[in-house]
């Protein structure tokens, strides 16, 4: 059953050193900043972070990297105009980087959540990112064998949750949230708003509560949280 946590620190109890953490977001859209701040406060070290980017500016994921708690990051697009924290750590040899094509990142996480052992994918065939990987020709097309990415912990930002853990997202802040929620031993979700079971139309639930272990309300700092539950 989904547990409703009183605050982000309570939601992140028991994070172990060396954990693999799936962190939602595409740049800052959908980045679970309050949960990342709480992860920093746990002091957990030697983390492997899986996220599309490697932090923006000095907040959220960038702050986690700056705190020296991340040993390795798995992402598709680390280099951005405001990724100076990551850039400096990488150039100093203080963080390990695994670059994964964005669709492979999503599908490898999806595969973990869906119980798929591995899959053959056409992305990256003949490129440096497929070097050393098993390949196979199926019906005349070449594919690369890709393995799932599973997390010990997933940190996700959604818009609205009900007390059963059913989730709605908002616009392109959805991005990796629904797949990451399925792929971790413990999935923690921060939401703008919590509503009673029954207040979300079952037809429009995006992430069913079975994938959600803990929910914590972190009201958005803007008026955007005023949107309707079905919006």
């Amino acid at each position: 059953m989904t547990e409703i946590a009183s605050d982000p620190d309570a939601a992140l109890k028991g994070v172990a050193d060396g954990a693999t953490v799936l962190v939602g977001g595409f740049g800052t859209a959908g980045q679970p900043v309050e949960l990342i701040d709480a992860l920093i406060r746990t002091g957990a070290r030697d983390l492997t972070v899986v996220s599309n980017n490697a932090g923006n500016g000095d907040h959220g994921l960038a702050a986690l990297l700056a705190a020296g708690q991340v040993r390795k990051i798995v992402c598709s697009f680390p280099r951005q105009s405001d990724s100076w924290v990551f850039d400096a750590l990488y150039r100093a040899g203080k963080i390990e980087l695994e670059v994964v094509p964005q669709g492979n990142l999503a599908e490898r996480i999806r595969a973990a959540g869906a119980g798929i052992g591995a899959f053959f994918c056409p992305t990256g065939v003949g490129t440096p990112l497929a070097e050393g990987k098993e390949t196979r020709t199926i019906d005349g097309r070449d594919y690369v064998l890709e393995y799932p990415i599973r997390g010990d912990l997933a940190l996700v930002k959604a818009h609205v949750a009900d007390t059963r853990g059913n989730l709605l997202y908002r616009k392109t802040a959805r991005n990796f949230g629904p797949v990451m929620a399925t792929a971790a031993t413990t999935t923690v979700v921060q939401v703008d708003r919590l509503v009673d079971a029954g207040a979300i139309d079952p037809e429009v639930v995006v992430t069913p509560g079975i994938f959600v272990d803990r929910v914590v309300v972190c009201p958005a700092s803007t008026e955007l949280a005023e949107e309707g539950a079905a919006g």
């Binding site: 951005q80 980087l97 490129t127 616009k171 392109t172 797949v179």
Partner: protein, 221 residues
Amino acid sequence: MTTATIEQPDRGPLTRTELAQQIAADIPPGSYVNLGIGQPTTVADHLAPDSGVVLHTENGMLGMGRAAQGDEVDPDLVNAGKVPVTETPGAAYFHHADSFAMMRGGHLDVCVLGAFQVSGTGDLANWHTGEPDAIPAVGGAMDLAIGAKDVFVMMTLFDKQGRAKLVPSCTYPLTGVGCVSRVYTDVATFDLTPDGVVVTATFGTTVEELRSRLDVPLLAG
């Protein structure tokens, strides 16, 4: 499909705007289209309002509208370049695995990408210069390159040092193999066909002059 090469030596090279217009005019009405980060994004400005083209953005949206202005800016609504955008009537949101299934599964009609180099056989290099101090970042480029039914490249034909970017074999790390179908540049457009590289138009130059500057054999229609 072979049409006569249109040589226009007496005009200048295409401006960036003209290049974007050229590509927009060649996108079939009603297509599902992904425009890459940077220059390709400008193609959207030249699509006819009645074209029925639906724009896909990798971060989970179909029916993406123009860039957001003023009060329209919403941090939860951005494009692949993380620029705030708007939604159009009939837009849809979806998660990343669905978004990339649209590419990989062959559902997108056209994508337009920038390039460092393209080979005559359609290999694409656009994600990494391979320089030792460069931080590699691939994003969705590899998935798009092998996924869309037609991959159009939008680039200058020569780099700042005057070196051709349409080459017999890419020297930069590859993004995809044999995936590019058409190359739009400031001085010429090319169809990459099983028979070879066909020059379909020139701007401020001739096929003869291009043959002297490129190491790729050129066919003219």
